[in-house]
């Protein structure tokens, strides 16, 4: 089947700590940090949005893959914070990576899983020889309503994956992908609304866990793999706790989840979350190792992937600095007032 030719990841450098947000709302920061398993989250600078993040990730992916961007046949950008309601983010990305004009492009939206949906679409397109390469991006600058629980986690980041079918170019082959989908109103944002609304605790059991579990089980069933066959497992990570609980529920260990769990240090990057997790894992994975990824998007659905790393991974690895290094080294802390300013919640008039 199709595989990953290259990838790139980007997380804005601004950070706000959980206790700083808790200070503003007079809440117990330590208890929230424990409850959500998150220390701090990334914040887009005033001049960053889902498009600029997508471009930064896409440029790294092109560099990492070594392909000529003109050979991309499709660019899909998944986000729930596309800068325009009407006018594609994907065209901005395609032009900014000099992909030429002989390609298809579209924006995707499926809450936090539109990026992995893009990967699935590209797998079909490359395997059917419709295109040579395609790029799928998950990128978000998600918003949490001030004072809402989501404000502690909703962050910004994105990852881009280049999909192709030539084995000799792949750094990892996608062995199998399945999805599980239902109409579940756990989280939504109406046209024109500034912030999303959600069903509170309803987002957990009938939302996240049901879809993640069913997609993962379906993948295991159809591939015949056991949880222990995988070296790394990445789940969508709306907070630091859910993916660990999902792992336990499905028979995976905490150790398998650890490397791809970034939410505790950057927050929930929504469409970027499971893809950034996969990028962090690929930074470490060795040839032959297997990775399982299950994304989740509210509304709701999960895409599950069984991936096996190839020998090519080592030679391309040195082209781009590892994601965890970027996250750890390139950061600037801001307080809540600067957070509001960078999010344009307070503006100079």
């Amino acid at each position: 089947m199709a595989g990953i030719i290259g990838y790139g990841a980007y997380v804005p450098r601004l950070r706000i700590k959980v206790e700083e947000i808790a200070r503003v709302w007079n809440e117990d920061g330590e208890a929230i940090k424990r409850g959500l398993n998150i220390k701090e989250k990334s914040v887009p600078a005033f001049d960053e949005d889902a498009a600029t993040i997508a471009v930064e990730a896409a440029r790294k992916a092109i560099h990492h893959s070594g392909i000529n961007p003109r050979e991309l046949g499709a660019v899909y950008v998944g986000s729930e914070s596309h800068p325009y309601a009407v006018k594609p983010t994907a065209t901005v990305v395609a032009q900014a990576i000099d992909a030429g004009h002989n390609l298809t492009a579209a924006d995707l939206e499926f809450a936090c899983k539109a990026g992995t949906a893009g990967i699935q679409m590209l797998m079909g397109m490359t395997d059917s020889n419709m295109i040579k390469y395609g790029m799928a991006i998950g990128s978000d600058t998600s918003q949490g309503r001030p004072g809402d629980a989501l404000e502690y986690t909703a962050s910004a980041g994105g990852a881009a994956f280049i999909i192709g079918k030539e084995k000799k170019e792949m750094i990892a082959e996608i062995l199998k992908t399945v999805s599980y989908t239902s109409d579940t109103p756990d989280f939504w944002r109406r046209e024109g609304a500034n912030f999303p609304s959600h069903g509170g605790r309803f987002t957990g059991e009938p939302g996240y866990f049901k879809h993640v579990a069913n997609a993962t089980k379906l993948l295991l069933e159809q591939t015949g793999f056991k949880p222990s066959d995988f070296d790394y497992v990445v789940f969508h990570q709306p907070n630091g706790k859910f993916p660990l609980n999902a792992a336990k529920l499905l028979g995976f260990t905490e150790k398998q989840v650890e490397e791809g769990l970034l939410t505790p240090i950057i927050g929930n990057t929504y469409s970027g979350a499971s893809m950034l997790g996969l990028a962090a894992v690929l930074d470490k994975a060795k040839p032959g190792q297997k990775i399982m990824v299950t994304s989740f998007g509210s509304g709701a659905g999960s895409d599950s992937f069984a991936i096996q790393v190839t020998n090519n991974i080592e030679s391309k690895r040195k082209r781009v600095a590892p994601l965890r290094e970027l996250i750890a080294k390139d950061k600037m802390y801001i307080d809540y007032a600067l957070y509001l300013k960078n999010r344009s919640s307070i503006v100079r008039t």
Partner: protein, 131 residues
């Protein structure tokens, strides 16, 4: 600033990807791109050339009194950047916690330059950051 679409549209490649021009005859590089070479005049043979965006800060300043369009981003740092290919380019230098000084090495990043109100276009542009 450019309220109508065409003005920003025709500069998209240049602004996104730092596309300059090179006179094939005398090898002089230009940014922004131009039609007529300052050296070769009517014998110009100009072609597009993508610039790396890597360079050094030649001069810089922090703008504290901006025009209306940029009032939300002020104060911000701008600089004259000497690209490794030779031409000098003016642009924003984004805040990354590192001190900006003459001679600081920079690369390009992709950012919003300005946004035309609540309903207008978003103008994306290269900016620089120190490395």
């Amino acid at each position: 600033m450019e309220k109508a679409s065409a003005g920003m549209w025709r500069k998209i490649d240049t602004r996104y990807n730092l596309i300059g021009s090179e006179c094939e005859k005398c090898k002089t590089l230009y940014f922004p791109p131009r039609i007529i070479c300052r050296i070769c005049g009517r014998d110009t043979k100009m072609r597009s050339r993508k610039l790396s965006g890597n360079g050094k800060v030649y001069s810089f300043t922090t703008i504290r009194v901006p025009s209306d369009t940029f009032k939300e981003s002020a104060p911000y740092t701008v600089g004259v950047i000497e690209l490794e290919e030779g031409p000098k380019v003016e642009g924003h230098v984004v805040e990354n916690g590192k001190k900006v000084a003459i001679g600081s090495k920079v690369k390009t990043v992709f950012r919003k330059m300005y946004v035309d109100g609540d309903e207008g276009l978003i103008h994306y542009h290269f900016k620089f950051e120190t490395i």
